[in-house]
Symmetry: D2
């Protein structure tokens, strides 16, 4: 199926300020970017580069004054995210090399401190996908998804002691538990159809049974209609924008996602 | 300035056939992809990956029957390509690492066989940009640009003995001579505004004075209005499509480029 | 000058256990690996790969029983680390792309929380190298270097409230403050001649004045005689070994560093 | 088993000359570099970098006068190269991304011109490993291995019309035929135990049955005892040294390979 997504950012910039944006999805596994638009107003010289995780990043200096970034995409994506109960754990020595960085502890996923908890959560599970499912159940059971509740990024350790959290931080907890079991897990930032309320979203993927699978502690059913914009070890790697120097004002951020009918294509 | 470009490919496919396309430009130096569209009909699962030179490649299996690829782009690009007479030669030991592969001989640029010729062409020139200009003059003076004259790719050695050639093969000769002087040179495939007759185009870039500069032996004046789609060592690296298995028919290939006025953006 | 370094690790392994080691230095800037030895006993199949930061990593499964890793190196390195008072701050938009990941907060360097502190530390300093020096003075002045005092890795925030710390954690604090000023900073793990007591060492590098410079809060004078083994954003990236599954015993870890005279080469 | 290899290069350099060497093997699949030595006399500042194919390259400026490069290695490697008759052809759409560059024509492997020949050579063979074997038989049957017979690198097309050739050029022919059948094939430069006469050696690998397999048209039996130093598309990618500027004299090149007994380790 095809979905469209837009993200509009509107800044007030006191003095010329360097930015790195991470707003352009790539075509990849079950994701085909058929149309895209990425407009800067005013238009400024911009260099695009690829970060160590393969994300396309846009570097520019925003001039003083009003500055807006308007992106929109039409993407073919899966209607349902694959589930694979029983998919087996992959021994570390069999993992593809590019999954290995996603085994290590990272800024917001202190996986080395989750050994005991992760072991207890997955007691009795078949190693692999079923462990990840148990972890998602745990995160969903102990933390209430509360969109907009978290301005400051919090880490897995912190989330684990909080009654409620945003999608990004719930993903941190899920990732930390997976890694504590030697399952590679990575953060995904992107769009999700019918998210309530609509916003950018974050979830995670775990590598079991020979491929990455989607897990989303914020949703009761594993829904599709996702567009992945960036992958990383945690929120530190996948900020949609990083701004250097004195703070600027984000005046407006509008996100929309819609399903396209055949007639619109 | 903004220009739009479209490329439509229409195939007749006897049996399901694997393809690699290289049709998606990246935003980069003096090139900002503001809008793009990349549609496959029928739509098929496609994986996008990055080749060793940083080009985005699309891999798919085209099903039997009619198959079309339709791409279009709106890109902000420079109105004039920078010229820099006098820009100095960069000593090999000072070259950035990512320029080094472009010093080596390659499939169609047998630079190791051009030492003597290159030396004679640039006799008396200041090392660097002026040498590249002299090489372009040589290519333009000894080979007549004859669009459509070359179906089979020919190498620098071969071009040098031919009275006429296409853009791609003229670039091969220019590249081989630059490399023979230890100047990194690379092939570019892309679009050029007002090309006569309109088609995909190829030119080359050489690294002097600390950056890459554009050279185009087919054009009397170094014009801008270019969109770079792929970079490589020569035509072997930057085929816009590579098809495996039994040959298929390319029924149609339409290319158009137009300048956009402010009102259209 | 040439120095030799050895590191011997001796494990007791209860059950076959996957490991990733990061013990092989690469030749690079002011570092030439002239001789090296990397022996495993017993010998086991090992795959070497490069992580996202360019470090050589060795992946293997250690069999049950005694397992030892013995590495030794003879490296030509600088007698003095370059200092460059006055070297200017590089604007973010001018930074090379491969320095950009070292601007972001990371597991143990919560740079986003150090804006205010970093600004106060560097008040009155010329932007760039002198700011880094002031940061090193701050770290050295508020934290006492206490080798062996830290088994658990602690982050910059934590170190900043501790009276004493190990080299690794002092580096975390220095890195976090640099990044808070938009100066790329990275962790280095390696060997240092005459370290007291001898052990593996950690320090950091900051990118100012167009290149990386060495900073070491544990040493009163910026000494040379260093061998860099791995680079990363913080200790999470550069563990000399990562072990998966149930804990194993590190029975022995011996490190030695010695200067070689000309006669020994 | 363990083997040792040495390579000594001795140059006379008229004026300071930039070089890129490709002389340091990496640990990898069935290859573990246990000891190595890489000495330059006189010692000069050297930067090591990784080329697009993952090879370690050493860049330096050799000063005027005598200049020598002395490398030696002790490597654990397989006693027999794996053979896998019947291993199946991998469909292009299933190939790992890093094998794809090895499907394209390259400087010395004009695979696009070998369709007909390759098809006739493999008539009746099971697609995959058996096709590669038939190609090796063809190369061995039509070309006599004549060490030292080829100073100038020749391409597959040229080799195919020559009665005798060196290892490097026989590999070119084998590679071109494999690629013409959509089988990824790559050049390997390295050492081979008991090569007669001893020299650096070249062979090729083809990707069938889910991994790379070794093929060597110069040897009647597929022997092990190999150390791979560099991988590439053909000889243009894997020169053990590339020298820029006016020619220099290679006064001496000594290669030795020996099997190590357990007692020597």
């Amino acid at each position: 199926m095809w979905i469209s997504a837009t993200c509009l950012l509107n800044f007030n910039i006191p003095v010329a300020t360097p930015f790195i944006f991470m707003l352009r999805p790539r075509s990849g596994w079950q994701q085909w970017v058929g149309r895209e638009q990425y407009l800067l107003a005013p238009s400024v010289p911009t260099v695009e580069f690829t970060d160590p995780f393969g994300n396309l990043c846009q570097r520019l200096v925003a001039p003083a004054g009003q500055f807006s970034v308007q992106t929109s995409f039409e993407v073919e994506t899966a209607e349902f995210s694959d589930a694979a109960p029983g998919a087996p754990f992959v021994e570390v020595q069999q993992l593809p090399e590019d999954t290995l960085p996603f085994l290590l502890p990272s800024r917001y996923c202190e996986s080395d401190r989750f050994s005991r908890l992760a072991q207890s959560i997955v007691a009795g599970c078949l190693p692999g996908y079923d462990q990840c499912s148990a972890i998602v159940d745990y995160v969903r059971g102990t933390t209430t998804y509360m969109p907009g509740a978290g301005q400051q990024i919090v880490s897995a350790c912190e989330v684990n002691m909080m009654p409620q959290a945003v999608c990004r931080d719930m993903a941190h907890l899920g990732i930390a538990c997976c890694r504590a079991l030697s399952i590679p897990a990575r953060m995904v930032v992107g769009y999700l159809e019918n998210l309530q309320p609509m916003d950018l979203h974050a979830w995670f993927e775990a590598y079991v049974g020979g491929r990455w699978y989607t897990f989303d502690p914020t949703q009761d059913n594993l829904r599709g209609g996702r567009i992945a914009v960036a992958y990383g070890r945690d929120a530190a790697d996948v900020a949609i924008y990083t701004q250097f120097g004195d703070p600027v004002d984000l005046l407006q951020m509008d996100v929309s996602v819609a399903r396209l009918s055949g007639a619109q294509l």
